[in-house]
Subunit: 439 residues, 2 copies
Amino acid sequence: MSSASSEPLPRTLAADLASYADKPGAPVRLSGWIHRRRRLSGLSFVVIRDRSGLAQVVVRSPEALAQVEQLGEETPVDVVGRASTNAQAPGGVEVVEPSFLALTDPAVTPPIELWRPTISAGLPAMLDHAQVTWRHPLQQAKWQLAAASLHGFRRTLDAAGFTEVHSPKLVESATESGANVFGVDYFGRPAYLAQSPQFYKQMLVGVFERVYEVGPAFRAEPHDTVRHLAEYVSLDVELGFIDDHRDVIGVLRDVVAGMVAAIHERAAAAVELLGADIPEVPADIPVVHFREALEIAGASADEPDLAPAHERALGAWAKQTHDSDFILVEGYPTAHRAFYSHPEPDDPHWSRSFDLIFRGIELVSGAQRLHRHDDYVQTLKARGLPIEPYTGYLDAFKHGIPPHGGFAIGLERWTGRLVEAENIREVTLFPRDLHRIAP
Amino acid sequence: MSSASSEPLPRTLAADLASYADKPGAPVRLSGWIHRRRRLSGLSFVVIRDRSGLAQVVVRSPEALAQVEQLGEETPVDVVGRASTNAQAPGGVEVVEPSFLALTDPAVTPPIELWRPTISAGLPAMLDHAQVTWRHPLQQAKWQLAAASLHGFRRTLDAAGFTEVHSPKLVESATESGANVFGVDYFGRPAYLAQSPQFYKQMLVGVFERVYEVGPAFRAEPHDTVRHLAEYVSLDVELGFIDDHRDVIGVLRDVVAGMVAAIHERAAAAVELLGADIPEVPADIPVVHFREALEIAGASADEPDLAPAHERALGAWAKQTHDSDFILVEGYPTAHRAFYSHPEPDDPHWSRSFDLIFRGIELVSGAQRLHRHDDYVQTLKARGLPIEPYTGYLDAFKHGIPPHGGFAIGLERWTGRLVEAENIREVTLFPRDLHRIAP
């Protein structure tokens, strides 16, 4: 074979080892981390982990056994050996007669036992060592759901004529709400971290009609809960020339369906490994009015908003009556939504806003927005808000913005519900909260 | 026809009006902004702008002429009329017998004359009114090159087994360099805005092997230049299991070629409108060593880095000798690159780093990085840097990171050079600098 050749053997990924099933004895090179060593009498099994999955290597020669003894779990290695079929190995093929080449110094044993089928460490230890914890196949799989979802999000919107934009995260005013905003020293002047790209995406409707942005959003959340982060990934959408918020809901439905489709296409192995229950997205997600939602949740008719317990009750109701993991609530009271929410013209007590509840937790907020300049001025006045910090924003409406609306999906909330995480931090690469700013 | 039907006529985009060439007289509905009105004796031409381009509407009836008189440029409207072929109209089809419906209040005349073929306003006025300036077709086209490039970037990397990641922008230490960092009040403690995702992408090589991120990077640039921003969009790539930096260069070449291909596929109309000279990416981009680069640029052999004038000279040389818009310089002096740069093992004075120069301006910096924990500790010591702020980062190397490297592309620099912008702010949606934090 080619072992005498001067050309190095090309690398084979663990997941592609199965293609050697009809080439027993062929030389093969793996690169990856030593995921696990299992010593039996006279032989060892070494599991190699790479970006595609796991591969099994059988070590019998005294030289290789001595080598493996020196290479602790997590050491990156090259392994050159021969393919051999074995029904017990992942993919039905393993590597035999291996020689190992360490690609760096032998690794120090990690604080998280990555070779175990599940992580036994508690959440604080997992987060303290996030740079290592994410190497665990189950953790990797969670993020693969997120990465596939991002692909599906963009693909759906690209196909619908949307333009990707990137708006600044350093902003002049704590505009959207004075509370929960991070201050920045901006060349000696005060500035803030954007709580959302809301104003920018609305202004950009005036340019591109239909825009989306994937980027960080910052909230100085003073509460330490299992579903809030100080920094999260926001999937923002805004579109113009709509009739009302139902047009926005139509795009949202297609976006969520596109995210689910991309998960099945691009992260099927992750879904299987996690045993994740990926939802079906109905062609028409059930919609109830806020008033009806309060009734379903058994809440008082004068509640201004839905509490988490109400959302859970609505999620259960949607599952029971519509066999749907999703339910939309529309028409929240105008006074309790952001000032740019569009009221229902015939009954302005209610707004053309909506929330999408996924498995009992709010995943998405959206609405038709105000589009008339005068409506903004009057609404800000009525709410006792100053005009001046909104100058650039209001200016866009003075120069013609069509009826429009949009929504924002929190990436971590989405993947958190997909894998039924108890805490949103389990699905966040490097979470930021009241207590945590590292790693 | 269907004018008596209760179903509203579906919207036709300006770019799709050409498909009515064989349906003269068919009813048609446009939605968009009044881009321009031209009054002649007895008729007016109204140009409608939507996300797809421009369409011409011919107005003859006194009622419609009176309507148009009330609707200033930039007013969003619905126009219902009939298709009519006209070789002079964009796409060969125009709309006749129109009736107009304003979708909001008549627009106030914008401070930037958007209907002129080019923008006559100066840069400060353009930036002060960015929310309106970007509506100009030439400005829109610039961003469309950026959006297409982002698509090509991700598509190339997705196909090569990379995983999209999102790393935190709020960080504990001003790690990469103490200078030019924005401070944040983080729940009463000091924190900083990430100058790059450098450390996170390296740690994530330990998880996914190959990662990319598109996100904001923050530099408190105290200099007011035409090529620096306080916040920019960074396209970051990092990959493990490499032999040396030449493997990284191979990925970079394919990424840039993928960005160019996506521009041709997805933004052909923008390229044509701008008359942009989109570069060809050679199968092998010419590479010169830093020493050779100094010679070519006529610089002294003891220069520690390339000055802008040197980069311009190298750009001209690459064009002349290789007919290439791109040139790579490798082997910058180790002492003048970031501490994590990998030295050339045989001659550690030089590093395994590189810059990609595009039309005479540095577009990309990259390198093989250190991967041994001990090398990091020694390098930080030798540079007089403390170990403590790097704890989480160094920890990843202790637990096994393979040889790896990566690069970062500045989105605005890329599109700036594509359209030969004199100032990077011309291609930035809402630029941030020493003097500007709004709109």
